[in-house]
């Protein structure tokens, strides 16, 4: 027997002391009755869902109030969002819209451009960086020529 096992044997002997620990006298005579009583009382007790439903029924007015409040908040949110969008659209600068459309066109042009070797004849090395400028040549026939968008300020005058 190795010393470690021997030491464990000593420990096991010490542990056997715990087998002598006993509950108060008569404890096991009464325990089955206590358990039976608890089982019977639990059988009559309502379940979690029954309690929840009962509470909801009792607080029907609270439930209605909560529903109405939720609907009101939603409606207010929708109205507010609509107003904010309207204000934003009015205050948005038109130049921004032009620059965005120009940027989109430039991206489209670069996508449709042929490879670098066939593109050498295209005079894009003029130092011009504005793709909306007339000096800029589009490599594709399908791309629309870019022109700065100018929105008429006095529409009636044009007619």
């Amino acid at each position: 027997m190795n010393p470690e096992q021997e030491n464990f044997d000593a420990l096991r002997k010490l542990m056997s002391l715990k087998r002598h620990e006993i509950p108060p006298p008569g404890y096991f005579d009464h325990l089955p009755r206590r358990i039976a009583t608890r089982i019977r009382s639990d059988e009559g007790a309502p379940t979690f869902w029954e309690i929840l439903l009962a509470r909801l029924r009792l607080n029907l007015s609270v439930a209605y109030a909560f529903g109405l409040t939720a609907c009101g908040v939603l409606a207010l949110g929708a109205v507010y969002a609509e107003r904010v969008e309207g204000v934003r659209a009015e205050s948005q600068p038109r130049d921004l819209a032009v620059s965005w459309s120009a940027r989109d066109a430039a991206a489209l042009a670069s996508e449709n451009a042929p490879g670098p070797s066939s593109q050498l004849h295209v005079a894009t090395w003029s130092g011009q960086t504005n793709p909306a400028s007339p000096a800029y040549q589009l490599p594709s026939l399908f791309a629309r020529p870019l022109q700065p968008v100018t929105l008429p300020t006095a529409y009636e005058a044009a007619h």
């Binding site: 420990l11 010490l14 542990m15 715990k18 620990e21 509950p23 096991f28």
Partner: protein, 214 residues
């Protein structure tokens, strides 16, 4: 109460056996479970009587507190009764109810965390006559000065320092005398895990109780 007998309504075969054989027939756990499932309270009462001591002892050795053990043992049997319909019979009722007790106890101890409040039971009269105990208190070691109740307190204190799973393995094996296989089935782990936990737990206990093991 283990091995108690019952005389419920017998089948004709059982009645015939009773007429010829004066030995009382012990009803199997399986039969009692079947009866308890059909709301036979007396059958479940008998199952409680059969296993209450072992279940209580396991929980008590884990908690070192009689009141907690009392609550948990009741919870275990109440839950067992409610879950009886879902008991498939893959394992014995004994293993199944042990599993409920083990899970309940481990959950309770995790919630309790470090709030250990020992409420130890008294030692029975046989403790002083136990040869191992006699050897423990009579040898010329530091523990000689200790009475059995002080030794009991030290031992329980050391047990409480182990993790829940290590304590459970030591309780089931070294105190309750269950096999590695049974413990594996109860704790839902393999035998190798049981062995390694047992070894580690014993090592820890040995270190904690070194003064009393010389």
């Amino acid at each position: 109460m283990v091995g108690a007998t019952l005389f419920f309504s017998k089948t004709p075969l059982e009645k015939a056996e009773l007429d010829t054989d004066p030995q009382p027939v012990e009803i199997s756990d399986t039969t009692l479970v079947e009866r308890a499932r059909r709301d036979d309270a007396a059958a479940y009462d008998e199952l409680v009587r059969r296993y209450q001591e072992r279940i209580y002892a396991t929980i008590y050795h884990m908690t070192s507190n009689h009141e907690d053990a009392n609550d948990l043992v009741q919870d275990t049997f109440v839950k067992g009764y409610r879950a009886l319909r879902s008991f498939k019979g893959d394992s014995s009722f004994y293993t199944w109810i042990y599993r409920i007790a083990v899970n309940k106890t481990i959950n309770f101890l995790k919630q309790r965390k470090n709030r250990i409040q020992m409420s130890l039971n008294d030692l029975d009269f046989n403790a002083e006559n136990d040869p191992d105990m006699v050897a423990l208190v009579s040898e010329k070691t530091p523990r000689r000065d200790l009475g059995l109740s002080e030794l009991q307190e030290k031992l329980n204190g050391a047990m409480q320092k182990l993790s829940e799973h290590h304590r459970m393995v030591v309780t089931l094996h070294d105190i309750q005398g269950l096999s590695h296989e049974e413990i594996g089935e109860i704790m839902d782990c393999n035998v190798g895990t049981v062995r390694s936990r047992l070894f580690y737990a014993r090592q820890q206990l040995q270190a904690l109780l070194s003064d009393y093991l010389k």
